[in-house]
């Protein structure tokens, strides 16, 4: 039979666990939309971006839920960047395999379209840029055209608001490297968006 003290301790333990779960939920709710946009800009696919965010949330919950809450943000974005990189590498490997297959055809005898080939171009031309309506689309297109490290530094620093140290932790590089990538990203974006901004 449980004594009164044991009962109180168990109750306190349950409440602590509940508080921790609430903290984690609040944290995930605070980052999920920006994390989705970061993943979507990086991989240019809504389904892949959702999978990346879901995997990152699960990984954080499984491995780091017990860590102090102030460590969650750099850890979460480190996981997210790794998932984005995994997705990009899988696509590269897939494009290699598809490149070996000559004239793949469907049942109607038509060539299949390689999803990598039909993905939007990395560097929209001036005409295409003019056609992009609205500041959001223009900025997202310009960010997508950045080299991956510049894109990461810009989105983590500017969009997510991580400081230099946390961005370095999330990107797995030095703080000096973060500053270099971030500055280059700003210069490239200003050059690309000059006419819109």
């Amino acid at each position: 039979m449980l004594r009164c003290g044991d009962f109180d301790r168990q109750r306190a333990k349950r409440e602590l666990a509940l508080d921790a779960a609430r903290d984690l939920e609040r944290f995930l709710a605070s980052v999920e939309k920006r994390a989705f946009k970061i993943a979507q800009i990086a991989v240019r696919d809504t389904e892949d971006a959702l999978d990346i965010v879901q995997d990152s949330m699960l990984q954080l919950a499984r491995r780091y839920a017990g860590r102090p809450g102030d460590e969650w943000k750099p850890l979460f974005y480190r996981i997210l960047q790794n998932r984005i990189r995994d997705c990009q590498r899988r696509r590269m490997a897939r494009s290699k395999i598809f490149a070996w297959l000559p004239g793949r055809q469907n049942a109607q005898g038509e060539d299949y379209e390689d999803p990598v080939d039909v993905a939007p171009s990395h560097e929209p031309g001036p005409g295409e840029r003019i056609m992009i309506a609205g500041a959001i689309d223009a900025l997202q297109s310009a960010v997508q055209a950045l080299p991956p490290r510049q894109q990461q530094a810009f989105l983590l620093r500017n969009f997510e608001g991580l400081d230099v140290a946390d961005t370095a932790a999330a990107m797995g590089c030095s703080e000096g490297s973060v500053k270099t990538h971030y500055f280059r990203a700003l210069q490239a974006l200003r050059a690309a968006l000059g006419e819109h901004w």
Binding site: E32, A61, H122, E175, H181
Partner: protein
């Protein structure tokens, strides 16, 4: 603060606002799936840690997976990036993705960079920038 620094700060502020607008305007279906993913993750965090015996039973499979991973890495390393389909742009991006463990890359000759760095509140010295402070 110079005109150039002010322009850069204006650009940073504006781009942050625009990206936030983009994040707030995501569709209801995506929001719903993000919420589901969040609930799933929180549930996962509440689960007790798996017993050690269960982990031990995976050791042989882990060894096999490691061997397969090493073989794949060896194969991947032996393939040439120049064989990738696509133009110079995709090759450059592929190289950058593979070489993402890059590190310190100083802009030694870029005066504008150091002017911008000087205006950054978080940076106290060049030693801080170099990561040695």
């Amino acid at each position: 603060m110079s005109e150039s620094d002010r322009n850069l700060q204006d650009f940073e502020r504006r781009s942050r606002e625009v990206l936030n607008q983009g994040a707030e305007s995501i569709g209801a279906d995506v929001r719903s799936r993000l919420t589901q993913a969040r609930f799933k993750a929180v549930e996962e965090a509440r689960k007790p840690v798996a017993p050690a015996a269960w982990m031990r039973s995976l050791l042989p499979a882990g060894g096999l997976a490691a061997a397969v991973a090493v073989a794949l890495l060896a194969w991947h390393g032996s393939t040439r990036l120049t064989d990738l389909p696509g133009g110079e742009s995709s090759r450059g991006e592929a190289l950058e993705i593979v070489a993402m463990t890059d590190d310190y890359d100083p802009l030694e000759d870029d005066v504008e960079f150091y002017q911008w760095l000087d205006s950054e509140p978080e940076v106290e010295s060049v030693a801080d920038f170099a990561g040695v402070g």
